[in-house]
């Protein structure tokens, strides 16, 4: 067994621990406290026990939001991960175009989330937006403000546009770290492009792809600003994801108890799915 010799190093972690305690643990504790109480404002709280948990877990509204959230998250993962890897594979490894490609790829990531939402809102408007107007001119009936399918397509397209770059940059970092010797050995063996990808590039990218999948999963499961600005959860409730629904309950209706219970359930789902993803990927890596 390897034992760390210098335990004093743990004191270096103390500032981070204190920071996390203030910005994460204390708010989380407060949410737990709210989740078992009812309040009518003015800092007056009344014990409610597990009532809000029962109410949220049995509500059709929560089930629908969760379903939409899962659909959104898995859709964007299914698109962004393969697309990001494909773009990273197509990017040059040497020369002046490397910098150009990297800057172009990084640009969507630099745009604030609410700006992305506003941009896509205008871009997709059927009357004046470039995308919306063009599609309608081509004879495709497209109006994301009143058609749920169009709203979903626009929402997913916006997320793919905004976040595929992150996957590309991570996959590219994994690709450039592969030593040339691997490719030379593959060439000597007469390996096909597919074989090189399957047995050299993909295994070498596994760690960065794990990070990419985890980041995209957690981010997309928490997403709020972009869909809120783009569709506001509509038309009707068709794009009301969990976070939008949560804000409606907490700030719109000021039902702090149910909102706190929903937050905790939301948090536990993210924690569980992230842990499963991470464990499965690490297990495959060990094998």
């Amino acid at each position: 067994m390897n034992k760390t010799v210098n335990q004093k190093a743990w004191f270096l972690v103390l500032p981070v621990l204190l920071l996390v305690a203030f910005n994460a643990l204390i708010p989380l504790m407060t949410v737990v406290n709210y989740s078992v109480q009812e309040t009518f404002g003015d800092n007056n709280f009344f014990w409610a026990g597990v009532l809000w948990f029962e109410e949220v877990l049995r509500s059709e509204r929560f089930h629908s939001s969760l379903g939409r959230q899962l659909f959104f998250t898995f859709s964007i993962l299914l698109i962004e991960i393969p697309l990001g890897v494909a773009i990273a594979l197509a990017m040059p490894r040497k020369g002046v175009w490397v910098s150009v490609c990297l800057v172009l790829m990084a640009m969507p990531l630099l745009i604030p989330w609410n700006v992305v939402g506003a941009m896509w809102n205008i871009f997709a408007l059927p009357e004046i937006g470039l995308l919306g107007n063009t599609l309608n001119a081509l004879g495709i009936d497209y109006n994301f403000t009143r058609q749920p399918v169009a709203a979903w397509v626009t929402l997913i397209a916006m997320d793919v546009w905004h976040w595929t770059s992150l996957v590309v940059l991570l996959a590219y970092a994994g690709l450039v770290s592969i030593p040339d010797a691997y490719y030379q050995a593959a060439k000597i063996d007469g390996a096909s492009s597919w074989a090189i990808f399957r047995f050299i590039q993909l295994p070498k990218m596994k760690r960065v792809l794990t990070i990419a999948i985890l980041l995209r999963f957690m981010d997309s499961f928490n997403i709020y600003t972009e869909p809120f600005v783009l569709t506001g959860g509509g038309p009707g409730n068709s794009t009301t994801l969990l976070s939008i629904d949560l804000v409606k309950i907490a700030l719109g209706q000021f039902d702090l108890g149910p909102a706190a219970a929903m937050s905790l359930i939301y948090f536990l789902i993210i924690l569980l799915l992230s842990w499963i993803f991470y464990t499965l990927m690490m297990r495959n890596e060990d094998q």
Partner: protein
């Protein structure tokens, strides 16, 4: 500045004290009897004692949530299930 905005109650305080005690106990246990390298159990994943505590707590949360969502009865039964689950995780996972 008071802490009234955090709306503390005795049950929630006890809950956090329990979690804190679990982590502290694990630390003391590890200090006096180091758990050694991760082991591979029935789930075929490598786990340390800390991992097993995490799995126990996460599993317990979902056992309670499932009970609250699906069954309308006393919470003592899921408590029994949680204790059995924790024993299972620490022994076999």
């Amino acid at each position: 500045m008071g802490l009234s905005w955090m709306a503390w109650t005795w049950p929630t305080a006890a809950f956090f004290i329990f979690i804190g005690l679990c982590i502290a106990t694990l630390g003391v246990w590890e200090y006096f009897r180091p758990g050694g390298d991760p082991r591979r159990g029935v789930f075929m994943i490598d786990t340390t004692r800390g991992d097993r505590l995490f799995i126990s707590l996460l599993g317990s949360a979902f056992i309670f949530l499932a009970w609250l969502g699906l069954v309308n009865s006393t919470l003592y039964w899921p408590l029994v299930i949680v204790v059995l689950w924790t024993l299972f995780v620490f022994r076999y996972v």
